[in-house]
């Protein structure tokens, strides 16, 4: 449906230097799916989204929607944003303050010169869908944050867009409302079967909403995958670190088997781990393991074939209500583990740690985080 190919977007900054905001960005979004661009502030998410919208003119690349090229540097195509028929929700919502709720939503239909009857029908339909139908006459500036957000969404939906673009639509809401709106957004997206590109720096949003996620770093996409794949099998250290919490243990690969697992020599001893792309014998790697994947026990654990079991001491504990944060020490290495509050081992006591091999992900450290997409190859 949407296909973005080797997209580059640059800004000329004030002093003549060039900011490379999006570099070699490529991805596909199938019909009706929600695709998320996730990454820290300044990594180029908004830039990529705006390039798709046509609000920014890329320097190179191809963008196609349903087989129609809206941008192509090789063929010299650039379709103006107002001719693309994409709906967009801005981070600031960009609600027009001089219009009321109805007028805001009616605007896209008015510029398309639809009849009054039809405008009214369509506007009321989306306003009902976003549950704003009781506020039709309200001044747009007199809406609450959540209502403004719905209004912005309604305005983007009313034109029945081919593609929906959302730039951090929930970031201006407070925590409770954000959760509610997230569910709402998901419902609407699935209900209308909207092909959507969603930008956020919030991993919870990304993981819970998306069919697929692209993690961005410094203008590059560093990994694309389903939420589960991104979380459980990060292919590089940046992704493992940025999405969720994790423990990193450095080491060297001693053996690799064909089935995707490997042996790593670390400060914790030999670990059985999952091998990601590029992991070979003698490669320098880090092993990433999530705190919830460290099982703690006061009794000695008998390891199965796929298990790593280590003896550690309790170093510190934080009580956080629903769970306990344990810091356990092995030699000089401190690992973070998440345990049930019923575990009451005192600080300083020995404790056994089990990590399943498929939860320990070995990631190469000597490649740049953008390695998977080999951007350097492209530049040559």
């Amino acid at each position: 449906m949407l296909s973005v190919n080797s997209l580059f977007t640059e800004y000329a900054s004030e002093h003549g230097t060039v900011v490379k905001a999006a570099q070699n960005v490529s991805f596909e979004v199938p019909e009706g799916k929600l695709f998320t661009l996730l990454g820290p502030s300044g990594c180029g998410k908004t830039t990529t989204l705006r390039s798709i919208a046509g609000l920014e003119r890329p320097t190179a690349g191809e963008i196609e929607v349903a087989g129609r090229a809206v941008y192509s540097s090789s063929r010299g195509i650039f379709v103006a944003p107002n001719k693309r028929n994409f709906g967009m929700v801005f981070q600031s919502y960009a609600i027009w303050p001089h219009m009321n709720v109805f007028q805001n939503v009616a605007f896209p239909l008015e510029v398309r010169k639809l009849g009054r009857r039809e405008i009214e029908r369509k506007v009321m339909r989306v306003l009902t869908a976003v549950q704003l139908d009781h506020l039709v006459e309200r001044d747009a500036t007199k809406l609450s944050g959540g209502q403004q957000q719905r209004l912005a969404l309604a305005r983007a939906l009313v034109m029945e867009p081919q593609l929906l673009l959302l730039d951090e639509p929930l970031s201006n809401l407070d925590a409770k409302l954000r959760d509610a709106m997230r569910t709402e957004l998901k419902r609407l997206q699935r209900e209308f079967n909207l092909t959507t590109v969603y930008v956020t720096h919030d991993q919870t949003e990304a993981l819970s909403l998306s069919h697929e996620i692209a993690v961005m770093h410094d203008g590059f996409i560093v990994q694309i995958g389903t939420p589960r794949a991104i979380y459980e099998q990060p292919t590089n250290q940046f992704v493992a670190d940025f999405v969720g919490q994790t423990n990193f243990v450095g080491g060297t690969v001693t053996a690799v088997d064909g089935a995707g697992s490997c042996q790593v020599r670390t400060a914790l001893g030999e670990l059985k781990a999952l091998a990601t792309d590029g992991v070979a014998r003698d490669a320098a790697v880090v092993v990433s393991v999530r705190p919830e994947d460290l099982e703690l026990s006061e009794q000695e654990i008998r390891p199965d074939a796929g298990d790593n079991v280590i003896r550690a001491t309790v170093y510190a504990k934080d009580f956080l209500g629903e769970y306990l944060d344990f810091h356990v020490k092995v030699g000089d290495v401190v690992l973070q583990a998440r345990a049930h509050p019923s575990l009451r081992t005192p600080t300083g006591d020995p404790i056994f740690v089990r990590m399943r091999a498929e939860k320990c992900v070995a990631i190469r450290t000597d490649t740049a985080p953008r390695g998977g997409f080999d951007a350097n190859e492209m530049k040559r």
């Binding site: 609000l55 600031s92 960009a94 303050p97 896209p108 398309r112």
Partner: protein, 581 residues
Amino acid sequence: MTEAVGRWGPGSHAERARWRFDSRWVLIGVPVALVVWLAIVPLTFLFWQSFLTPHTAARPAEFTLENFRIAYFGGETFGLFVNSVIFASGTAVFALFVGTALAWMNERTNTPFKKLFFALSIIPLVIPGILFTVAWMLLASPKIGLLNVALQGLFGTDYVFFNIYTMAGMIWVDGLHYSPIAFLLMTAAFRSMDPSLEESAQMSGASILQIAYRITFKLAWPAVLGSLLILFVRAIESFEVPALLGLPVGIHVYTSAIFNAIHQYPSQIGLASSYAITLLVLCCFGIYLQSRLSYQSSRFSTVTGKGFRPRTIDLGRWRWLAASLFVLYFVVIVLLPFLVLVWTSLQKFYSAPSWDALSRLSFDNYFAVLDFPGFWTTVQNSLFLSLTCATTIMLVAAVISWVVVRTKIPGRWVLDTLASMPLVFPGIVLGLSIMICYLYIDIGIYNTIWIMLVAYVTRFLPYGMRYVSTSMMQIHKELEESAAMSGASWSMNFRRIVLPLLKPGLLAGFIYVVIVSIRELSSSILLYSPGNEVVSIMIWELWQNGQYVELSALGVMLILLLFVLVMIAQIIGRRFGIAER
């Protein structure tokens, strides 16, 4: 040692409190008294005078309502009012149209060279109104105007293409002259608008024109109306254009009518006063509406944090047209007027450019001007007045702004309001009230240079205030408080901490006041006396004598001087980040 004990002793505590109370009273009292004296007292005299008959040797002044009868029900009344309103609204609309179009192109499109253009937009400020008017007279007067002569030569006719001595001509000149202000006002308005409001319209499928009309201008509407009112007030109080272009052909507006009433025998001071009061009321009304509007427009200003980035609309090939409009504008507002003055200043007698005339170029006029009897006195007067005025204003403004911005003395808003009041006074009305005031209160400054100083200080105090209070707000309050904690008295605090920190703001404001004082004409015209002329008056007199070539030479020198001053002010302003105007 004893002193230290005494200072903290319980007895002196009360003393200190009383002293503090007194100093506060002085702090607010003295500036209020000064500002009342400057701004309110002359107005009272103006009001009183409007009820008196002319005072002549034969008959003393007596009470009358005749002035208001003539002003409101006289034969010319209707024409005067209509002319003034047509002139002012025409000027305002024209200036705003030009200014808005330029500001939109500059802020919201990808017109090439717009950075350069924005930097140049300050330059028109260096051409004083009287010179701008004279230059356009030289360009577009029906008989000698260069544009007419050139076009007549081109088409071989004697058809008059442009006639500057008409209402349209007056609006053209005054509108152009105020268009930079419109440009700055609208630039500010565009900058305060979130561009994503336009972008979301674009994503909704709206074309550039639809966005411009339905979003951009609708949102900018309160700002547009506000600017229109400011420009209307500026235009209705402008003096140079009506006096130079309107008076010769009998197109009268309030300002020129006031001037005319004074310059007949016997002087119709009472009549002039009633005109002045009418004009003042119109101005106040305009400013009142404007302040109401600016309250309204704040309702529209959307607050956004992240995601607010200036983005420009791609004009495609049209951007070269936009760039050429910029160039055309610059030609019309700076290049043509300046060049025509330069050309004229190099001629023996005024003539259109030709090979013949080219061979007669000389700097004689410049030497002639320098040799005028009284030229150096005039220059001295101008320098003395502008420097003294700027110094006084910056000192007074520093104290007043400090009281207003920094202290919590009750009633300080009165001071603020009073000190910015003269902003509403048309120059000629101020000149008239001060003239009347010191005619009655004889403290020996009437017919001296000091009366002009009083007028200048009153008129430009609000400008000085704006500079100082802006930079005062940028100074962190804790700097002062830490000085107070280390034991400094407020006067030492002010001298040692506040003044030095304010220096860049004071300096930029100082230069700005110097510039506007040197250009000042409409107050001076009623207050000068032989021997006390200033440069702008000298230009005025040269114009009245028809000495256009000498006038041009003087004008060119003045423009160059002002240009240098503006550049210095710009550099200081940029270095210290002081907002322009």
